[in-house]
């Protein structure tokens, strides 16, 4: 059996288990390549029926413009019910990636927003596209991962996960996170995207874009909201994103890979990791774990 076929079967199996075992599932959709592959798998898993759960996008209001346009069109193409949640309270307080530090911004506009949306929707399980090869604390995550009533992760007390048998028991207030792409690598996702013809946000593909250089990182100037420092002049560089977050917090890489096939080839030769462009990850050695304990996805 082929490598991608096995990963696909595993993801479909996990998606069906999730739909069968829980009362009210929801699939988180971040517009990124992993999310899109996951939504694509959901459409395949239940074909010819519709996936029995909605998509939920936590909108920080600081996504690249291209991402929002793509999100709506993609969900419509798959016939999926798309729900969008913004932490209005945070937005009204003016928590944005320029005035707040990255940790506060992430906590308020992503982690808190996610908790609000899950509680408002009464969702007992949230399906996400995280992969174990992304980061060290993710490598320790179960496929079915329990969260406390406060949405926190207790990495030192995870349920043993045998074979493909899930234990779906939830105590009062507890919820589950499910990661069907756990065993996929970045390269697997791109190879699958190519093989299946899954559309991706054009930001993943190299194009000449206006950028400024900050602390060695390439920041794309997406709209007039970005605050340029004195003397900073955007220059045109052929760049693309390996990982898409909020635009002031995601750095681009110089690349000539203008098609998905080019990206697959580029990855074969790469010497850096995918999350290197995520400016929030580097703060403290185990900063992803700390965020996940708080309820970050």
């Amino acid at each position: 059996m082929d490598h991608l076929r096995r990963l696909e079967e595993e993801a479909i199996f996990v998606l069906r288990e999730t739909a069968a075992l829980f009362r009210r599932p929801v699939m988180l959709y971040s517009i990124g390549k992993d999310s899109s592959a996951l939504a694509h798998l959901a459409a395949k898993a239940f074909w010819p029926a519709k996936p029995p759960f909605p998509l939920l996008h936590i909108d920080t209001t600081w996504k690249f413009r291209e991402m929002i346009a793509f999100r709506d069109r993609f969900a419509a193409a798959l016939g999926l019910d798309l729900q969008v949640h913004v932490n209005r309270e945070g937005a009204n307080r003016g928590v944005d990636p320029f005035s707040a530090d990255a940790n506060t911004y992430t906590r308020v506009m992503k982690t808190e927003a996610l908790k609000q949306a899950l509680e408002a929707g009464g969702f007992d399980v949230a399906i996400g596209g995280a992969r174990r090869d992304e980061e060290k604390s993710r490598a320790k995550e179960r496929i079915f991962s329990l969260r406390s009533a406060h949405h926190g992760w207790d990495p030192r007390n995870q349920r043993p996960e045998f074979w493909r048998l899930a234990n779906p028991h939830l105590g009062p207030g507890e919820t589950m996170r499910v990661f069907p792409l756990s065993n996929w690598s970045e390269r697997d996702v791109w190879r699958y995207t190519l093989a299946e013809g899954i559309p991706v946000v054009p930001l993943y593909l190299a194009r000449p874009r206006p950028v400024v250089r900050r602390a060695g990182a390439l920041i794309v100037v997406d709209d007039e909201r970005i605050r340029l420092d004195a003397g900073e002049m955007p220059e045109q560089v052929s760049v693309r994103f390996r990982s898409l977050g909020c635009y002031p917090l995601s750095a681009a890489i110089e690349s000539q890979a203008s098609t998905v096939a080019d990206i697959v080839a580029e990855l074969e030769a790469s010497r850096t990791s995918e999350r290197q462009g995520r400016l929030i990850d580097g703060q403290g050695t185990a900063s992803m774990e700390a965020k996940k304990r708080e309820g970050y996805f």
Partner: protein, 632 residues
Amino acid sequence: MSPIRTAYAAAFGPTEAGSVRSRPPALRVLICGAVDDGKSTLIGRLLYEAGAVPDDQYAALAADSQRYGGGAPGELDFALLTDGLEAERERGITIDVAYRYMATPRRDFVFADTPGHEQYTANMATGASQCEVAIILADAVRGLQEQSYRHAAICSTLGIRQAVLAVNKMDGVGFSEARFEQIAESFRQAAARLHLDCVAIPISARHGDNVMKSGGNMPWYQGPSLLDHLERIDTRPVDHDLGLRLPVQGVWRGPAGERIYMGSIAAGRLAPGDRVTVAPSGASAVVAHLWGADGTVEYAGRGAPVAFTLKREIDLGRGDLLHAESDAPCRANHLAANVIWFGKSHLLAGRDYELRLGTMTSPVTVTSLRGKLDVETGERLAVAEIQRDEIAICHLATPAAIAFDPYGHCAATGSFLLVDRTTGDTVGAGMVRNALDRGSNVVAQALTIDRKAREALLGQTGAVVWFTGLSGAGKSTIADALERKLHSRGKLTFLLDGDNVRLGLNRDLGFTDADRVENLRRVAEVARLMVDAGLIVLCSFISPFERERMMIRERLSGIGFLEAFVDAPFELCARRDPKGLYAKARRGELRNFTGIDSPYERPASPDLVLDSSLHPPDVLADRVLERLIDHP
């Protein structure tokens, strides 16, 4: 073009779909062994040498090695590449299994790096259940540990057949061939008993000897390097030629409201027009339409996710196992299994759990413990209870027949979880050895005269009042008062008292946890028979464990049942001490005495709380009587 592709094209214009070169699935490799044998260091070394450590992670590793690492200044501590949790880095240990991915030109790998500490054995076994090959590490300086054997036994129990004994830290024994041979030889015997096909390789994960390249400091070693060996290992599964096995995951409604059944094929094949049988019901049906992951198909084989409709609707849903008409799985309500036990409390015969096998869920009772696996000798030892991290061989019974296969024939239909129904925790991972037909030949005999008929004759309704509480709380005194009141009202009663039962029916039982469980199981069954005879049964037993009280409630479901918690402060009970037992227990002459060296778990939601420190027995008996009359 598939309908999904068509939708993409309509939304985004023609999409780019390219061909991708097929690759064999990644080899899943477990890395296990005792604490400090160097598992995380080995994985870090493998990733580094194979070029799988990206530059930015390498830079972080160099910084982390200065901060947490234990080596010489400037030396890289490769364990920090995989020990991702803050607590792991601070304490320099691995707590949970980490999965790491790596590709060489020859093969893709998934390494499961597992913890060596005994208290994290569950996490090690979690990793083992996902792997095909095991690398068992041994420390050349310290030699083999009990944990090395335990991990080998768990691997073997979980069906791993290919193992590598990596004798690590050869730099610590001066790269001595004699030391290597000594360790390899003693492990070889254990591996043979455990049916592990095992190759021994001397390595130094810290310095890289024989990890990727062989030779170097050990010219006497002529075999392949660890990575060479892993790249060439052949893990084609043993084909048991099973017919179709398709555990049904669920039923979803199609666009026209039709019922669409879904699941992954665990064994065999499926095609439209096939006649299939449903276990355990025995119903049969013909497949109408079949979908694979890419739409309609005319055939699907092992490992394929499928969706299908049936020509004629039958009762079919989640938990059912579809199989080929000509090749049925076992169908029984009694089976023998190996169970790796992780519960905080012991595994005891008589306890009830939730069984999750394939997509099926059922209550299950451990009917007997046949022994535990001795991890060093592979022999079966007789035991009364199984402790955390031991491997039990036990018999299990379900209320109704279920369908399964021996684990060795089909892992998907032969593996199961045991879940504690009070806490929801996973407490055991089991593998079916075989069906036991004893149970299936015993069928309940339908009788003409039933409980209703006997109750009508007696002019009363059978019921059970279960008194629980500490010794000396006043259970038997209240039960006795209640029985006198019922008797004077012309009700036929029977009082089952802890001590009286132990003098007869249960005189073979002591006071260990296992014996207490069996004691109460028998009493519950006797009470059930007496209620069937139409009697009002009063049971007076300390019954200290919530789990057993739950078991009693379930065995007596469908009949009037009152749980009466006779509550009195411990000091009062000890002062009353009607049988002089507290005094004995304090002198150490009596062991496992509830309240002294064995716990009493207070009932969470009893039907009645009777406080004998506040009211006399007569008043409390009246309160039970009122409830019995109100809710006969």
